[in-house]
């Protein structure tokens, strides 16, 4: 289940990539889902928990992954209860956010309207208005009405 909070919210991390750099665990990186997300978003291959092969940057450390994929990995694995700011993610991460939410309750913060149009059968709970939306169009209409960012 995906819950979305627009604007500032308690217990949120505004810049998840920095939080990731200081909290990640090796096993998160080699998890099959992470390997898929890193391949899709960063076009990179996980060689080991400590080495990634990037077609652009060459052999990189985990800390050189993109901010978006770091945020996705946090959403999947972090168990602190923190709410991560998904505005650190581009729209190319939207489908992965939704995928993660299919298997766990995931609450995200947003400071912009993320484009979930690529997500089939998109549904989410908008915390600001207490409304359950059952499609991207319903989400968009509701998000546009909400003032908080």
């Amino acid at each position: 289940m995906l819950k979305i909070v627009f604007g500032d919210v308690e217990n949120s991390i505004y810049h998840p990539p920095t939080y990731f750099d200081n909290t990640y665990e090796d096993e998160w990186i080699t998890d099959p889902l992470s390997v898929k997300m890193i391949k899709d978003i960063d076009k990179s291959d996980v060689i080991s928990a400590r080495a990634i092969d990037s077609p652009v940057l060459g052999s990189i450390s985990v800390k050189e992954l993109s901010g978006g994929v770091k945020t996705l990995i946090l959403m999947q694995f972090d168990e602190s209860g923190k709410i991560f700011n998904a505005s650190a993610c581009g729209d190319n991460c939207a489908k992965w956010i939704y995928e993660i939410s299919k298997h766990k309750d995931l609450t995200i913060a947003l400071h912009h309207i993320m484009d979930f149009s690529a997500c089939e059968d998109f549904s989410a709970f908008i915390v600001n208005s207490g409304k359950q939306v059952g499609s991207y169009k319903e989400y968009l209409d509701e998000a546009l009405r909400i003032e908080e960012r």
Binding site: Y14, V56, L57, G58, G67, C89, G90, I113, D115
Partner: protein, 322 residues
């Protein structure tokens, strides 16, 4: 600071090449397109110069600021290009807007958020595009591309309602030229356009706004328009720009200013190009029959010849509103 600046920043793996010509440029887009790498390279070069292994070519100093040091740095630098990465919440603050308004630097801000307290142009919102590798197959080439093309849009059907951003001379003009069966309303400001559009859902709408400062509203309106094809936008730089472009005032000289505004506009004096065009138009028409006031339209602009000249600039929407 005036002018357009060509920037090349590279190391052995990546090269970024782009131009900056206004005081505020926004960079956003998909993850893993190199935004943070770009800022990191600029920061590294500013700290260590050529010894860093980074190469940077720009006629002005490029540097970065963050939440902790932005005020002290901005107090001590001049005519620089300042890059600010997305983790810095300062960009949303009124303090930041007030501070940069009075500086003569240009600012490149990495953010997906809309920043309504900053007047940035629709044309200066970019993504980063990787366009392949050089012949040596090692270094990727990255350039900026505009996220929102401001080519004037044509409408399939005549507008039922025209929504004009302001309630001043621009509104006066479009209300006067719009056909009798078209409802022309003022949104009362750029931040109210979204609400006004949504309140008129289902109607064929034409939104006319000042592109020079509409950047903060563009993202959400663009998403709305993707689901509502009955909405179109016309985004001249500003209504004053439209009059200046009409040829009514000193053709060649004004045309040169409009074509190369960045070479004439001092960024510390004008927070947006919209304000420059307003001042330019007022000064150019003062004491003439075309004397312009932003608050109320001089009736002469509704005389046949003058009206036609101004409407010709907006030819793409003429058939939809007249």
């Amino acid at each position: 600071m005036k002018g357009k600046y060509h920037i090349i920043v590279q190391n052995s793996r990546v090269k970024f090449e782009f131009d900056i010509k206004r005081n505020i440029t926004i960079v956003r887009g998909d993850s893993a397109t190199g935004k943070t790498t770009l800022v990191s390279l600029i920061d590294t070069y500013d700290r260590l110069g050529a010894d860093s292994g980074v190469e940077l070519s720009c006629a002005r100093r490029c540097l970065t600021v963050n939440n902790s040091n932005w005020e002290s740095i901005l107090n001590s630098v001049s005519e620089c290009i300042v890059f600010i990465d997305e983790e810095n919440t300062i960009i949303k603050s009124d303090d930041f807007a007030r501070k940069i308004k009075g500086t003569n630097n240009y600012y490149v801000i990495i953010t997906r958020e809309n920043l309504p307290n900053l007047p940035y142009s629709v044309e200066e919102i970019y993504g980063i595009h990787t366009s392949g590798k050089y012949a040596d197959m090692r270094r990727t080439y990255n350039s900026f591309y505009q996220l929102y093309s401001v080519d004037e849009q044509s409408m399939a059907d005549k507008a039922e309602t025209v929504i004009v951003e302001d309630s001043n001379s621009g509104y006066d003009f479009f209300k006067a030229v719009a056909a009798d069966d078209i409802n022309c309303i003022s949104a009362g400001g750029k931040t109210k356009i979204k609400r006004t559009v949504m309140d008129n859902e289902g109607k064929n709408l034409l939104v006319i706004a000042d592109g020079a400062a509409f950047g903060s509203e563009m993202g959400e309106l663009f998403l709305y328009m993707q689901k509502h094809p009955e909405v179109s936008l016309y985004l001249p730089e500003s209504f004053e720009w439209q009059i200046l472009k009409s040829g009514l005032i000193d053709g060649n000289r004004i045309a040169d200013i409009l074509q190369h505004t960045e070479d004439f506009l001092e960024s510390s004096e004008y927070f947006s190009w919209e304000r420059f065009y307003t001042k330019l138009l007022i000064s150019e028409t003062e004491g003439t029959y075309l004397q312009y006031s932003k608050q109320k339209l001089n009736d002469v602009y509704l005389n046949p010849n003058e009206k036609e000249a101004v409407l010709t600039v907006a030819d793409i929407i003429r058939e939809n509103i007249t």
